[in-house]
């Protein structure tokens, strides 16, 4: 397996039109924006791209479009989130055929398989291609089967092309256990943050991030990433606090909050796809006030 260090990975949103179809014209601008604003790689569709709201056919089209638009300017990591093993395997192979640089997959949610079956799912999806596999923690931890350190270590022992873990659990003990014990099995095993809480991830030995908020504040996210990459964790605290404030502000509204913030930054990406609701007028006004009250966003790019 070729060594791959993704570094600072952006996770683009998926723009939708008013009729709920994917807005590919805007998506091309989204991808170019990320390429021009500090991304080392892209991962898509990911939860920020509303992966589970798209059909399997749409997800294939989205990846196909992205690969053509990116044209090799950056590595593209294909996120495979299907809860059905055979469907996920087929889509992983499709991603490899398009030239994806790696696969990111997580345990099948909705089902409640035993830990051994979670491992089996990940091994089959990861083993379907020769690409590096990044195991992602589930977006909703308490749904389905919890991803334990033991499951990750089991997969790591049995599958050669596991490159690392993308952690969105933010749990200190899990991160330390997976990384320290994982590196005893495979010395190059990577831990990446799946959130913009990069300091904790970096200081325990992580070395990269899938940044959900890089679409809103790419400069802040990049600066935070670089301080962590230089092991300047204490110095990174102020930026981490700013990022935490942005995260906390957008969190409750979810995708609507993220897309609302993008609108305020001059990058209209439409509304979240149903059944996710949009922000109402009062919520939009409040979000505008909160964003305006964050001076650290003043240096961030507006528009495309």
């Amino acid at each position: 397996m070729k060594k791959f260090n993704p570094g600072f990975v952006h996770t683009p949103v998926t723009p939708f039109k008013a009729d709920q179809s994917i807005d590919f014209d805007t998506y091309s601008r989204v991808l170019d924006f990320h390429i021009n604003n500090g991304a080392d790689a892209l991962a898509l569709p990911m939860p920020q791209g509303e992966d589970i709201s798209m059909t399997e056919v749409e997800q294939r089209k989205l990846l196909d479009f992205a690969m053509k638009q990116v044209k090799g300017r950056l590595p593209v990591i294909a996120h495979i989130g299907d809860p059905g093993t055979d469907i996920a395997v087929a889509r992983a192979r499709y991603a490899e055929s398009l030239g994806a640089a790696a696969i990111a997959a997580h345990p099948p949610y909705f089902w409640h398989p035993k830990p051994s079956m979670v491992a089996e799912h990940l091994i089959r999806v990861g083993g379907a291609t020769g690409l590096p596999l990044y195991i992602c923690t589930p977006v909703v931890e308490d749904a389905g089967t919890h991803l334990t350190a033991e499951i990750v270590l089991d997969v790591l022992k049995r599958l050669d092309n596991v490159a690392g873990l993308v952690d969105s659990s933010m749990r200190f003990v899990f991160m330390v256990e997976v990384l320290s014990l994982g590196r005893e099995i495979k010395p190059g095993f990577q831990l990446l943050s799946g959130t913009d809480y990069m300091v904790s991830n970096g200081v325990v030995g992580g070395n990269g991030v899938f940044s959900p908020l890089a679409s809103v504040a790419p400069k802040l996210a990049r600066q935070l990433y670089e301080l962590c990459a230089k092991q300047q964790f204490t110095q990174a605290r102020k930026l981490q606090e700013q990022m935490a404030l942005l995260h906390h502000t957008l969190k409750t509204a979810g995708y609507a909050g993220l897309k609302g913030a993008l609108r305020l930054m001059g990058r209209e990406c439409g509304e979240p796809r149903l059944p996710r609701s949009s922000l109402g007028a009062a919520e939009t006004a409040r979000l505008a006030e909160q964003i305006a009250a964050m001076p650290f966003l003043q240096g961030e790019p507006r528009g495309w």
């Binding site: 256990e177 200081v203 935490a244 404030l245």
Partner: protein, 320 residues
């Protein structure tokens, strides 16, 4: 949309006359073979920790089997701790219990015997609301002049007793003697919210991690931890904190990884295996009260072998 907090006006700070910093030790409770508390050995345990670099002593945490101790035993143990430490380092008394009246009684007692602070939690096992926790902590905190730390113990299933940043803000506004927290969230986002709000409102607010899960939070404002493995490896604890202070992250990682391995040994039926491992270090703290199991001979042998493999036997003190 959630409320985003800035720093509003608050009650005047009442700064404690000490600074909490470092890997602080929370002794186990040694028991005799008949399961009574062995106060002489407890005094030895406390003294061992102070002599081996503990920057503070805290008792009786769950590691000390606090839910299995009577109020009388907790009071007597607290007196032994205060007397043994003899002002060499600050002393914290954990007053959390199932009954709020017991917590008030323990808080009064802690102040009377000359403890330096109390650690408390609202009565658990009741799925308390944030408002109930606020009222409980306000009542306990208003009942003493001592600095008060709260124990943040959210459980994964949403139960437990969670101190959100909003609750911490309200408590700082309400209680001038609310000076810190033991954080067992072990979670980047939860920790950051508490740290962001508390340290901006009350500089010097002490966020002390549970169980030495300290590396991930130290750069974000944690001041130390209450130790899980200090009874086995105090040198490792001190080396770990010195590396953090020096921002020597490579050494800190090595220490954190080893401490995590130790805790993986101890976490099953904690603190049963911890007491079992102490035997190999020449510090036998006796059995565990039911319903927890006392480590079997086979378990003790296994733990001894693991400590040898981790290099603990050659680098840490033996005996009292």
């Amino acid at each position: 949309m959630s409320t985003v907090m800035t720093a509003p006006p608050r009650a005047a700070d009442k700064k404690p006359p000490f600074v909490l910093r470092g890997v602080m030790q929370a002794p186990v409770t040694p028991l005799n073979d008949d399961f009574s508390v062995d106060y002489d050995r407890f005094a030895k345990m406390v003294d061992f920790h102070v002599r081996n670099g503990a920057p503070a002593i805290a008792w009786p945490h769950h590691k000390a089997e606090s839910p299995n101790l009577t109020m009388e035993e907790r009071k007597l143990g607290a007196e032994v701790m205060v007397k043994t430490v003899a002002r060499r380092v600050p002393v914290s008394v954990f007053v959390g219990s199932l009954s709020e009246e017991d917590s008030l009684d323990l808080a009064r007692h802690a102040q009377k015997i000359g403890a330096d602070m109390i650690l408390t939690i609202s009565p658990y096992c009741r799925r308390p609301t944030q408002e109930e926790i606020f009222r409980s902590i306000t009542r306990i905190g208003s009942h003493t002049d001592l600095p008060v730390l709260t124990y943040n113990s959210p459980w994964r299933n949403g139960e437990g007793v969670e101190f959100t940043s909003t609750l911490v803000q309200r408590l700082i506004e309400r209680l001038p003697n609310y000076t810190g927290m033991k954080d067992a969230s072990f979670h980047s986002e939860k920790f950051m919210e508490i740290s962001r709000v508390a340290l901006n409102m009350r500089p010097g607010f002490s966020i002390v991690m549970g169980l030495e899960h300290l590396l991930a939070s130290y750069p974000l404002g944690a001041c130390g931890s209450f130790s899980s493995c200090g009874a086995i490896a105090p040198n490792l604890c001190n080396r770990f904190f010195a590396a953090l202070v020096a921002n020597d992250w490579e050494t800190a990682r090595t220490c954190q990884y080893k401490i995590t391995k130790l805790y993986r040994l101890f976490k099953d039926q904690y603190p049963s295996s911890l007491k079992g491992a102490m035997i190999s270090m020449g510090r036998d703290a006796g059995p565990i009260r039911s319903p927890l199991p006392t480590a079997s001979k086979e378990r003790v042998d296994f733990l001894c072998q693991q400590l040898e493999e981790l290099g603990v036997m050659d680098t840490e003190p033996h005996g009292w």
